[in-house]
């Protein structure tokens, strides 16, 4: 374990190098907060935008894809003087603002003047949605789908049903098509699509993708590989959609394990129930857009600076 090992001290430790964490670190480093270190357990920094190959990031005059945005934010934090370390996992708390980490270099304990939890959010997978049926291969979330297709070039099947009709669901449908598969349908329990009307119509008219509203997924079918999903309309009618892939999109939940392990209560703003521990981005607002997370991160930096100035 880490007993007997030296504890390293930093001024600010940011957990999570997504948009919120990187933006917070950039502002903190630029404001002279001292040693600002950002840890990310993934091999590359950037968070979810890393695998959003589509546009819509950046600004109107300077549009970017997700990976471009991830690189921009990482550069921003590094140039401001923050240290961004990927491939480092925070395992647990060993003190009020002291964390045990592990990386290929081994375990390390880091004590920080302030901690920012920017651990993001994830989509609820199939099991957490309590969707009955068998447990075949071919069941995705958007996050896994995008990484499989855009980071690794995996094939994902031939016919996919997309569960959800929000922006993220349409992005998932685009990824399915980019992987050379057909989108059988989008399925939503709501009476209409939860995205801009133009986007929903474009999918329906340009790509011929039907949108099944007021409809839930009642069962997954198939042994080994998915063979279809049974859907149920609000009026009780059911139908089976033959497919070999299903993507569960949206329904974001916070990835708040670190906060909960220490019994730290999160609010809607950057302050938490533990002095000197802050939170920012998707962990507070699951599924928020990258740009909003970036703003959130910069705002959290303000709270951290105040704490560093008059805390302890």
């Amino acid at each position: 374990m880490t007993a007997g090992r030296a504890v390293r001290r930093v001024d600010v430790l940011v957990v999570g190098a997504g948009p919120a964490g990187l933006a917070a670190a950039a502002r903190l480093a630029a404001a002279g907060a001292g040693r600002v270190e950002v840890l990310d357990r993934e091999a590359q920094p950037g968070g979810v935008p890393r695998h959003c190959a589509h546009g819509g990031f950046g600004t109107w005059v300077h549009p970017l894809t997700g990976p471009g945005y991830a690189r921009l934010l990482t550069r921003g934090a590094t140039r401001a003087g923050a240290v961004v370390r990927s491939g480092v996992t925070v395992l647990d708390w060993v003190g009020t603002r002291t964390l045990a980490t592990v990386s290929p270099q081994g375990p390390e304990t880091i004590d920080a003047g302030a901690v920012v939890l920017a651990t993001g959010s994830r989509e609820r997978p199939r099991a957490a949605r309590l969707v009955p049926g068998t447990r075949p291969a071919g069941v995705y979330t958007t996050g896994e789908l995008q990484q499989a297709v855009h980071l690794f070039g995996h094939s994902i099947g031939t016919r996919a049903v997309v569960v959800g009709a929000q922006d993220v669901s349409y992005a998932a449908a685009d990824t399915v098509r980019a992987a050379g598969a057909d989108v059988v349908a989008l399925v939503t329990e709501h009476p209409r699509a939860g995205t801009a009307r133009a986007r929903a119509q474009w999918a329906r008219l340009r790509h011929g993708v039907p949108l099944l509203t007021d409809t839930t997924v009642a069962e997954l079918l198939g042994h080994g590989r998915l063979s279809g999903v049974r859907v149920r309309h609000r009026d009780g009618r059911t139908a089976t959609l033959p497919c070999d892939t299903v993507v569960f999109t949206g329904d974001f939940v916070p990835d708040n394990e670190l906060a909960r392990r220490a019994g730290i209560k999160l609010a809607t703003g950057p302050h938490t129930s533990r002095p000197g521990v802050f939170a920012s981005g998707g962990v507070l607002h699951p599924g928020q857009r990258a740009r909003a997370a970036t703003r959130d991160g910069a705002q959290a930096a303000g709270a951290v600076l105040e704490w560093l100035a008059d805390g302890e």
Binding site: G106, P125, A127, A128, L130, P132, T141, A148
Partner: protein, 467 residues
């Protein structure tokens, strides 16, 4: 070391062939592998060991306190429990002796507890004790309101069922047993040497035959001319809750069996989750391993009464297993000396616990059918990768990471599985042939995100190793 999954089966004549690589079949193979003079095979219809009933149980190492006294099951569970506990300690199979509480929720159940205490005495399980409501709530503060008392069975333990089956199989294969996967037995007939098995991969000859075919044991038994039992699959659906729920429960919370049947249990798992289940549905379809909306709703209704806060936690997985129930109360383990054949049928949910004792019993029966077991040589011990949270995982082991940084490179974040562990599993004696097989060996993708973060990266490692 021979593990095959395709191509024709070898033409050699085996001394003993075990049909079925579940926990019982693998235990029998391991037991027989202690006899170096024997040429042994295990044939399995699926692409991995432990793919049937063995992979979807409640993961409890029972004491046998509530078995029917003097039954074969009672004896083998009692003996198997001791054997497996020792084997687990030696082989690195995670076990936690958390103890069980049989919680009484009404006067009838409370009245049944002394009788159960008496029964457990007869089953040679002495340390049990009746608890009043106060002591019960002190032990389990998150228990729902209305519990009247409990029976404490300190010996009941939780275990990793996948590691157990894999440890048996690994040890057997290393000791020379041929494991033939993807080999479905279609028929059996007599030959000059004994039995001729017709399989999906051709013919296999064996002198002695052990039927450990689980759900399909009755079919194989009938093919050999016996009409001794019928397997009626009994589906058990189970819900695995997030690791953040683990602090809600300290013991295995068992229902008190009454005339109205068994209720559901809540148990911690060695992997650090909380299990709720099982349902008990008698079915006819031996492939009906799906969960149902009704089953999930029933479990959540019952679970919510036992441990209300559990329902607030995220669900990590839902699965369903089929138990090999028969019309008989007891196991159906029968030797047919004239056929050089042993049936191991009707092994119910206690089979994991009893597996090593069943295996020793079967070996003795085989000797009765005329098999010369020959000399004994204990096989090399196995050291299984630890999947249990009560023991240090590789990412916490300084010396391991210093020697090999791959153990400090985490791929599956929810379960903290390193690239080193995945690499080791892919290069192991019985490597996984699917991502599910990799999950059971390492826990990669078994966590709360179910692959949102790591699914693609894990698949990449799997596919790189397979090409």
């Amino acid at each position: 070391m021979t593990v095959t999954a395709e191509g024709a089966l070898p033409e050699r004549v085996y001394d003993v062939t075990v049909v079925g690589a579940g926990v019982v079949g693998c235990a029998v193979a391991r037991e027989l592998a202690r006899r170096p003079g024997l040429r042994l095979a295990v044939v399995e219809a699926q692409d991995d060991v432990g793919q049937g009933t063995s992979k979807a149980n409640t993961a409890i190492l029972h004491t046998g306190f509530d078995a029917t006294p003097d039954s074969l099951e009672a004896r083998l569970v009692r003996e198997g429990s001791r054997r497996l506990a020792a084997y687990a300690a030696e082989s690195g199979i995670p076990v936690e002796r958390v103890g069980a509480l049989l919680v009484a929720w009404d006067e009838d159940q409370l009245a049944a507890l002394p009788r159960l205490a008496e029964k457990s005495e007869r089953n040679d399980c002495p340390d049990i004790r009746l608890l009043g409501a106060d002591e019960l709530y002190a032990r389990e503060p998150h228990l729902g309101p209305g519990a009247l008392g409990a029976l404490h069975v300190p010996g009941e333990s939780i275990i990793c069922p996948w590691t157990t089956t894999l440890a048996y199989a690994t040890q057997a294969v290393r000791a020379g047993v041929d494991l033939h996967l993807n080999t479905r037995v279609h028929g059996v007939s007599r030959s000059a040497d004994g039995h001729r098995l017709t399989t999906s991969r051709g013919t296999l000859h064996t002198r002695h035959l052990v039927n450990a075919a689980g759900l399909h044991a009755d079919t194989l038994d009938r093919a050999l001319g016996h009409d001794d039992f019928t397997v009626t699959p009994r589906r058990g659906q189970l819900i695995v809750h997030d690791k953040l729920a683990r602090s809600l429960v300290r013991h295995i919370l068992l229902p008190v069996p009454t005339a109205l049947g068994k209720g559901v249990l809540i148990a911690p798992t060695v992997h650090g989750n909380v299990l709720l289940g099982p349902t008990a549905e008698d079915l006819h379809d031996k492939r009906a391993t799906g969960s149902t909306a009704e089953g999930i709703a029933l479990l959540r209704e019952k679970g919510g009464r036992i441990l209300p806060a559990l329902l607030d936690e995220e669900v990590t997985a839902v699965y369903a297993g089929l138990r090999a129930a028969t019309e008989h109360e007891d196991y159906r383990i029968t030797a047919h000396p004239e056929q050089a054949y042993v049936t191991v049928g009707g092994i119910r949910s206690t089979g994991l616990t009893a597996s090593m004792a069943i295996a020793a019993h079967v070996a003795a029966l085989l000797a009765d059918t005329g098999l010369d077991l020959g000399p004994t040589r204990e096989p090399d011990p196995v050291s299984m990768p630890n999947l249990g949270e009560a023991f240090p995982r590789p990412c916490r082991r300084l010396e391991l990471i210093a020697a090999d940084p791959e153990y400090g490179t985490l791929v599956c974040h929810c379960e903290r599985v390193s690239r080193g562990e995945i690499r080791d599993a892919l290069a192991s004696t019985i490597p996984p042939r699917t991502l599910d097989g990799l999950r059971r060996r390492t826990r990669a993708r078994a966590g709360r995100c179910q692959g949102f973060y790591c699914g693609a990266a894990v698949r990449q490692l799997f596919e790189e190793a397979r090409t």
